[in-house]
């Protein structure tokens, strides 16, 4: 009895790591360091250290269970090595049949959200109703209030599930918009040429 107590006392981080394992196995969404610290009633710093231990234990090729940092927190997932076995048993209902229109809508909501259906339609040039509905149904976007003013349209933002499905640590992990569509400058120049021809 005495020796067990001493063992725990000398390496209490191990017990914290076990508690974190337990929390992560029952959680249905990634847990942040703050959530883990609160549930475990321990310091966030110690939780970080324990997570470091777990990351080694539950690493790719070492274990079938892998600890990943995603959607603003930590979660377990299957190792990539086992993906074929998983594909034989499970489905991917969220990604199945995700249309091009839905992906464009998702991009608009992820970058400019919260934003409304009319705003999405303005940017994409076509109505976004069915794309928005399918994204809500898949749980990738959700309602986030209405636009201000009477009769304001419902606004949407991406969900933590979106970050998880796309394997993003957070929305900040999306590529910067400035890096996309680099040839925008060319379009601008061509339009300005046309404009000055029209003005003269």
């Amino acid at each position: 009895m005495d020796s067990t107590l001493r063992l725990i006392a000398t390496n209490p981080l191990d017990q914290l790591a076990r508690t974190i394992e337990a929390l992560l196995i029952v959680a249905s969404a990634p847990l942040s360091v703050a959530e883990l610290a609160e549930a475990a009633e321990d310091d966030p710093e110690r939780v970080e250290t324990a997570l470091g231990l777990l990351r080694e234990r539950f690493g790719e090729r070492r274990s079938g269970i892998v600890l990943e940092q995603v959607a603003g927190g930590y979660a377990f997932r299957a190792s990539r090595e086992a993906s074929e076995a998983c594909a034989r048993l499970f489905e991917r209902p969220i990604e199945r049949g995700l249309s091009h229109a839905a992906l464009e809508t998702l991009a608009v909501v992820a970058y400019l959200g919260p934003c409304s259906r009319p705003e999405v339609a303005r940017i994409r040039g076509v109505a976004a109703d069915s794309a928005v509905a399918s994204l809500v149904e898949r749980g990738l976007i959700s309602e986030a209030g209405r636009e201000s003013g009477p009769g304001g349209a419902v606004r949407y933002r991406t969900t933590p599930l979106f970050e998880r499905v796309f394997g993003l640590e957070s929305l900040a992990a999306l590529p910067r918009l400035d890096d996309l569509g680099a040839d925008g400058e060319q379009i601008r120049e061509r339009l300005l040429e046309v404009a000055s021809a029209r003005a003269s």
């Binding site: 299957a78 992906l103 076509v126 796309f166 300005l192």
Partner: protein
């Protein structure tokens, strides 16, 4: 050309049925992917050995009218603003919007690639099999919040700017009637002189009415040369038709 078969997200069938539905406002222009129509037309052209200039011309008029209409409906208020802008400023604004859309398209491509790369990452959706069952508890609520929420739903949406209403397609029937009345008084007339002063959209609809009348065999159309005035004549007046044809 008008029997061009389309297979769009919002519509499947011949092009002229699509136009009819749009003109009757049974279909919203915003639902229609115009690029897909252009693609279908170009494919159809490519299949044919020779180019039908008349069909191309007709297509250009109709598709540009459709584009304008759709653009106006998409930017009801901004359309007026853009008109008021100097050409450079308008181009600047247009470039900004195009750039924004382009970046979103790139972002969508990035997301699609990312998704493909994550196909071997599996995780559980939903609660764990043996997780504790939590109970959700809600603090006492104020019932007035319900009344406020329902009242907000009864507020009509802000009045849509009517500035673009002038650009709505007038019904084809309006021009059908007008041309028939005209032909009951005169044997022939020039299209241009009849539509002078009308907006481009109205001109396009008038042209559609013309095609409608020719299809039903009520009129004959002729044109001396590309871009020459379009002559319209009563079909029952054979002499005039042959005269026009000879002189062409």
């Amino acid at each position: 050309m008008r029997e061009l078969d389309l297979d769009l997200d919002a519509f499947e069938g011949p092009f002229d049925l699509l136009l009819t539905l749009l003109l009757r406002e049974e279909l919203e222009p915003i639902e229609i992917d115009i690029a897909a129509i252009v693609l279908a037309f170009v494919e159809r052209l490519a299949e044919r050995e020779e180019i039908d200039l008349e069909a191309c011309g007709e297509f250009l008029v109709l598709v540009s009218a459709l584009l304008e209409l759709k653009a106006r409906l998409l930017f009801p208020d901004e359309a007026a603003e853009l008109d008021a802008l100097e050409p450079e400023a308008a181009a600047e604004e247009l470039a900004r919007r195009l750039g924004e859309y382009r970046r979103m398209k790139e972002a969508a491509v990035w997301l699609a690639e990312r998704l493909a790369g994550e196909r071997d990452r599996w995780f559980r959706l939903g609660p764990a099999p043996l997780a504790p069952q939590p109970e959700r508890r809600l603090a006492p609520q104020d019932s007035n919040a319900l009344a406020v929420a329902l009242r907000a739903l009864a507020v009509p949406p802000p009045a849509v700017s009517l500035s673009h209403m002038a650009l709505r397609f007038p019904p084809v029937s309006q021009f059908l009637d007008r041309f028939r009345t005209l032909l009951s008084r005169r044997r022939r007339f020039d299209f241009e002189s009849e539509v002078i002063g009308l907006s481009r959209v109205e001109q396009a609809v008038a042209f559609l009415a013309l095609l409608e009348l020719r299809k039903s065999g009520e009129i004959a159309l002729s044109q001396a040369a590309p871009f020459a005035p379009i002559r319209i004549a009563r079909v029952d007046d054979e002499r005039i038709t042959t005269w026009t044809a000879r002189s062409a």
